[in-house]
Structure formats: structure tokens, C-alpha cells
């Protein structure tokens, strides 16, 4: 058997990196599997939590924004409007806060074993993605209940899921790497997540934002993602602002690319500073 040679040198991890990522592909699965298992260990209702949380949030938002504030519902039942926004948002928020602590939480692994560090934040994103899929089933149930059926546009949905995934990965990589060096970020994250919930069109439609602010509003990459989701699920009446989507998409691409770069740049010192 031809043994492959590894060269270890300052600043030269690149060479084997992508090969290693492939060699350790099962680790992504195992780490995500561990986090999912652990999440619901020693709980009474277990996975039901993944159902209950979005459902209750949806009820609150529907009452608050739909019934009390009487916001427009884009021609769909308000719960479905809320849920189709909640879906990508919860995915993003969960991945973001999960990733932020993932490296620090796996400190013992990082300082004692070698593997591509990218596996750790990625698997927290995967964990949130599983929650996202469970919530997706609820949405289907909800739509069946309201007898509300999507149009052909729903075929775009997987693409939008990919965008949401990219956004979550990019933000997650940034925050996890930053948190290794500057622990301040663990205090910032819950605040950011809460803040994000209000500045993103989760409980309401983007339509209520005045036209001239739309471009500015789209600087929040989740606006494009959520609008895209609604466009795909709710149909023609949903708010849709093409330049906004373009801004959001390019921002997502930027965050992801810079996130990978920053992570790659800092990961070699993780074991020393963590």
C-alpha cells in the first residue's frame, strides 16, 4: 500500500486540508448525531420540543401581529405566513447560536485530537437543519389543516434552503472562530439573536416596510431568505422585491466566503488559544 506523506510546517496546512475534510466526512455525521442525541437525553417529551417551540412562537406571533396589530397576511392564513418566515429564521438563529459555542464547548477535542475543525461548527448547523426539517413537517400539516396548497413555485424551495444553509454556515463560522479568541461574543449572541428576530420579517410580511426602505432592509440577509420562502410557499401575493433578494444573496455569499477564509486562517491557532 502506498502510504501518503504528510508534511507539517508552519503555515502549511492547506495541502492536505480538503483531502482530510473528505477523509473525516463521517465525523460531520457523528458529531451532529451526538448533538441531536444529547439534546433530548433525559427529557420527558424529547423530540416533541422541536415541534412545540416553533408552534408556540407561531401562536404568539399570529395573535400579536395578525389578530391585534392586524398586519396584512399576503393572501394566506396568518399562521402560515408566520410559519413560513419562522422556518428559515429558527434555522438560522439555532445554527448561529449553536455554532457560536461549538468550538469552545468542544475544547477538549480541539486540544487533544486532530481533525478538520470545520466539522464542529458545521455539525451544529446540521443539528439546526434537522430541527428545521421537523418544523417543515409541521408546516405541511398546517397547510393541510388550512387547505392551503402551494403553486409550482415551491420547486424553488430547495434552492432557498441552500441559501439559508449558506447564511447559517457563514455566520456560524465567523462567530465560532471569533468566540475562540474573544469570549465577549458569548454575551453578544443571545442579544443578536433576539434583535434579529425583530428586525427580520418573521412575525409580519415585508410589505409593511415602506418601499423606499426596502433596499436598506434587504441588508439583513435573512430578509431575502424569508421573502424567498414566502414567495415559494405562499404564492403570487407574497411580498417580493427582486433588488432586495439580490442584495441579500450577495451578502450571504460574502459572509460565507469570508467566514470560511477567516476560519481557515484562525483554526491553526485554535489549540493554542482555546
Amino acid at each position: 500500500m502506498e502510504q501518503r506523506e504528510i508534511i507539517i510546517e508552519a503555515g502549511r496546512t492547506e495541502r492536505q486540508y480538503w483531502k482530510d475534510l473528505w477523509a473525516y466526512r463521517e465525523l460531520f455525521y457523528f458529531l451532529a448525531w451526538r448533538d441531536i442525541l444529547v439534546q433530548y437525553k433525559q427529557t420527558v417529551i424529547g423530540v416533541l420540543w422541536a415541534v412545540l417551540r416553533p408552534l408556540l412562537t407561531m401562536v404568539v406571533f399570529t395573535v400579536l401581529f395578525g389578530k391585534l396589530a392586524k398586519f396584512p397576511s399576503d393572501g394566506a392564513p396568518y399562521p402560515i405566513l408566520v410559519f413560513s418566515g419562522l422556518l428559515p429564521w429558527q434555522f438560522f438563529a439555532g445554527a448561529f447560536s449553536g455554532a457560536s459555542n461549538s468550538l469552545v464547548g468542544n475544547r477538549n477535542l480541539i486540544s487533544k485530537v486532530y481533525f478538520p475543525r470545520l466539522a464542529i461548527p458545521t455539525s451544529s448547523v446540521i443539528v439546526s437543519f434537522v430541527d428545521f426539517l421537523i418544523s417543515g413537517v409541521i408546516l405541511v400539516g398546517l397547510m393541510a389543516w388550512y387547505d392551503f396548497w402551494p403553486t409550482w413555485r415551491v420547486v424553488v424551495l430547495p434552492l432557498l434552503v441552500l441559501v439559508a444553509f449558506a447564511a447559517a454556515m457563514g455566520a456560524g463560522l465567523w462567530i465560532s472562530a471569533l468566540n475562540v479568541k474573544y469570549r465577549d461574543f458569548r454575551y453578544v449572541i443571545p442579544f443578536l439573536v433576539q434583535f434579529g428576530l425583530y428586525v427580520s420579517p418573521v412575525g409580519f410580511s415585508t410589505k409593511i416596510v415602506p418601499e423606499r426602505w426596502q433596499a436598506l432592509y434587504a441588508l439583513n440577509p435573512m430578509v431575502g431568505v424569508i421573502d424567498g420562502f414566502r414567495w415559494a410557499i405562499l404564492g403570487k401575493d407574497a411580498a417580493f422585491y427582486l433588488p432586495g433578494l439580490a442584495i441579500s444573496l450577495s451578502l450571504v455569499a460574502l459572509v460565507l466566503a469570508s467566514g470560511i477564509l477567516y476560519f481557515r486562517k484562525t483554526e491553526r491557532t485554535f489549540a493554542d488559544v482555546i
Binding site: 506523506e5 504528510i6 510546517e9 457523528f30 458529531l31 444529547v38 433525559q42 485530537v113 491553526r268 489549540a271
Partner: protein
């Protein structure tokens, strides 16, 4: 000719140590406040440079380390705490990057720097086997095929579906080592993992390591267990202050390290050169040294060679009668023996003033290997009253090197204070009825 498995050239690792008593990680808060402080200081007292002392210092955990290891070699790495042994393993296993130099490695590397890395307390034994295996670099199929072996090795069949947080610490360690022991890398890096577990489990672990080496794997083994290093590794590296100071047969390296560690400046001898400060009054101690059977000074003692302890002393007044005593203790402070010179021709003789050298000879195959020290005493017997001129505890510390005259088993220490070669005899008669 076996291939080269590791080539390390000029390896160095620099750490920057901060002399401020705060957390190892930076807080953005600190960065900001430090910047503000520096700014304020510049405005407040522009001449005040002395306050901006450098509070970081460079520290080389490893420097100019070079060595080569061939495929199938088992090499021990020894050295005092903080010498850089673990840093070396961390670099070799790619956990941390070197600052200078290169390492070329061939084949699959598995490092075992800690037992149970990646175990999650909430998960069951079964789940942890898979998780830990994946973290250590095994594929799922590999783990599946080894699963039963791992469980059998760890002896935890009954508790496979219990969360490991409910395991006893012994069970936990057994399971963790079992997973790691079933990795089949070409290069295995092990850091002091045998310090855990009970004696029988340690034995099992050592056996597993011995097996790995007999299967032609390359093993690098960091340990403070000199016995294990000596027995498992034909070759050893001694690392001190970040550099390899010795690279030789493990017997040679271990003995050198142990001798040095005992703090003997000139090995095999303790001297009191100034008469005023030497122990004693009427009789003064000059030196205690190791000698060979014919009286020549030596620096090391082997189990299968006779040796002597020479006591050099000076009598300042003539006419005293005294005896010279040697009290031998081993490394556990157990007294091995006491010996008095009462068969010596000078015993019971009034001594003239002058310099005496008294040798106390030990036969071969008497002492067990390990650290020993002697207490030396000279006591007046005539004229009365008796009195101790001096008693110097630990006047000389020395190490008895192992030689495998007695067939040693690699796992078992020969316990006991002495290790004589005893005569054995077995009789046999061909009968099966009583």
C-alpha cells in the same frame, strides 16, 4: 531496509506568554480598555515610558528538534515535566502548528494524548464507542467490525446501554482505552495514558502496545514510567528544555535521566572538600563514593556486578577507637541493610591521625534495581563515653541499573527490597497416584 516513518528537522514551537494574571483568551473588552489606557497615558504623561513594560515574553517550548524514526520502531520519549514532550506529540499529531521546521510523516497517524477524549457523559457506552472511534479517525465500518472486540477488551458488556456518566471511573477509562487500542494506525502517538486504571488494566494496555509494535507499527510513547519505557522501547529520546539532549538505547537514556534527576552533580561521589565545613569534629568525613570490586571509582552500579561504597575520612586526634557504619535505604525509604566494619582489621584498633579510606563491598545480585542512598556514620567506642562523631543521612545517592540476568517479564516489577539470584531446583517423578 525499513522505511523512514518520521523525519523531524529543526522543529521549533514558540509561545508568547503574557505576564498579566488574566485568562488565556483575550477579551475584546481588554483590547479596547488597553488601547484607551495607552492613549490616556500618552496624553497624561508623555515622558512616562517605564510603565509600558513589555508584559509578554517569548518562550520556546521546543527548539531545534531533529530526529528520524524508522517504520516499526518503538521509541520512548522521556524528560522532566514541561520539557516539551507533549508539545512535540501535539505537533506530530497536527493539533498545533510548529513555528519553525518541518515534519514529514508517512501513513495514518493516531494520537492518544488523553484517554476518553470526546466521550460524552450523557451518551451510552455503545454510542460513545462509535463517537470516539469516529473522532479518533475510524470509519463506521471499521468500528462496527471491531465493536465486539472493543467491548470484550473493556469488559463492560453489561453496561453498554447505560450513559457513561453512571460508569465508575475505572469502567470509563477501560472503555475509552479499548476504543483507542483498536485503532490500527501505522503510527501511534501515546502520551502518558497508562497512568490511569488499575494494575491489571495497565498490564493489559502495555500488552496491547507491545502487540502493536510486534505487528510492525511505529509507536512514540511519552511516559514517566521508566520501567515501561525501558521494557517497551528499544530506543528513547530524552528531551530537556525543548531540545533532544539524548537519543540512544533506552537503557542508556533512562539510566542517564534517572541519575541526572537524582541531582548528583558528579555521579557516584559526594565530597566535602573543605575540612571546616565537613561533617564531624574529631573525625571528619571527606568523601563517599562508589567503587568497583578492585577499588577504582565508578559512576554506575549494575545488578549483576559487585561494587563497593568507599568512605574517606580523616582522624585529627590519635588513639580513638570507632566503628564505621553504612545504612542502605532504597527509593521508598525502606532500610535495606546495615553494615558495620567489625570484621575490618582496624576495628578495635586505636587509630593514628591521618586519612583513611574504608571500602564496604557488596556482592553482585544483591540489590534490586532502582534508587538507593546510604547514610554514613562513625561512632566512638573507646575511650568511653561512646559518641557519634557524625551521621550523614543520604551521604550518597546512586542508581542500580537493571541487567536482565534474572529473566524479567516486561509487565511485572520484581517487587522486593533485594533481588538475589537464588538457586532453584525441581524434582520430578512419574507417578499419578498419591
Amino acid at each position: 531496509m525499513p522505511n523512514l516513518q518520521i523525519r523531524v528537522e529543526n522543529l521549533g514551537k514558540k509561545f508568547t506568554i503574557t505576564h498579566k494574571p488574566h485568562d488565556p483568551y483575550t477579551a475584546l473588552r481588554d483590547v479596547l480598555t488597553d488601547m484607551a489606557k495607552a492613549l490616556c497615558q500618552r496624553f497624561a504623561s508623555p515622558s512616562h515610558h517605564s510603565r509600558a513594560e513589555p508584559c509578554t515574553e517569548e518562550f520556546w517550548a521546543l527548539r531545534n528538534v531533529s530526529f528520524e524514526i524508522k517504520q516499526g520502531e518503538v521509541v520512548g520519549i522521556i524528560g522532566p515535566n514541561g520539557a516539551g514532550k507533549s508539545t512535540l506529540l501535539k505537533i506530530l499529531s497536527r493539533i498545533t502548528e510548529p513555528t519553525t521546521g518541518t515534519v514529514r510523516l508517512k501513513g495514518r497517524v493516531a494520537s492518544l494524548l488523553e484517554v476518553g477524549t470526546g466521550f460524552h457523559p450523557e451518551l451510552t457506552g455503545r454510542e460513545n464507542i462509535f463517537l470516539n472511534g469516529a473522532i479518533l479517525g475510524m470509519t463506521r465500518d471499521e468500528i462496527k467490525s471491531k465493536f465486539d472486540e472493543i467491548v470484550a477488551f473493556a469488559e463492560t458488556e453489561k453496561f453498554l446501554d447505560t450513559p457513561v456518566k453512571r460508569y465508575s471511573s475505572g469502567m470509563y477509562v477501560r472503555l475509552a482505552f479499548a476504543v483507542a487500542a483498536h485503532l490500527e494506525p501505522e503510527l501511534l502517538l501515546i502520551d502518558e495514558v497508562l497512568a490511569v486504571g488499575d494494575a491489571s488494566f495497565q498490564k493489559k494496555c502495555l500488552g496491547k502496545m507491545g502487540q502493536a509494535s510486534s505487528e510492525g507499527r511505529t509507536v512514540l510513547f511519552v511516559s514517566h514510567n521508566m520501567k515501561a519505557v525501558r521494557n517497551l522501547c528499544p530506543r528513547a529520546l530524552l528531551i530537556k528544555n525543548g531540545s533532544v539532549v539524548m537519543d540512544d538505547d533506552s537503557d542508556v537514556v533512562v539510566s542517564a535521566y534517572l541519575r541526572e534527576n537524582l541531582g548528583i552533580s558528579s555521579p557516584g561521589e559526594s565530597r566535602w572538600d573543605k575540612l571546616e565545613s565537613a561533617p564531624g569534629d574529631v573525625v571528619k568525613l571527606k568523601a563517599v563514593r562508589l567503587v568497583s570490586r578492585n577499588g577504582a571509582p565508578i559512576s554506575r552500579v549494575r545488578t549483576n556486578e559487585p561494587f563497593g561504597i568507599q568512605i574517606e575520612f580523616m582522624t585529627l586526634i590519635e588513639g580513638e577507637k570507632f566503628n564505621v557504619g553504612v545504612y542502605l535505604f532504597n527509593g521508598n525509604d525502606i532500610q535495606v541493610l546495615t553494615s558495620i566494619d567489625n570484621h575490618d582489621k582496624w576495628h578495635d584498633e586505636p587509630r593514628p591521625a591521618g586519612l583513611f579510606k574504608t571500602n564496604c563491598y557488596f556482592p553482585s545480585n544483591l540489590l534490586a534495581p532502582g534508587t538507593h542512598n546510604v547514610t554514613v556514620q562513625i561512632k566512638r567506642i573507646m575511650p568511653k563515653p561512646t559518641r557519634i562523631f557524625f551521621r550523614v543521612p543520604q551521604a550518597l545517592t546512586f542508581y542500580v541499573d537493571e541487567t536482565n540476568t534474572v529473566q524479567t517479564n516486561i509487565y511485572n516489577d520484581f517487587l522486593g527490597v533485594v533481588r538475589p539470584l537464588l538457586e532453584w531446583e525441581t524434582q520430578f517423578s512419574q507417578t499419578t497416584s498419591i
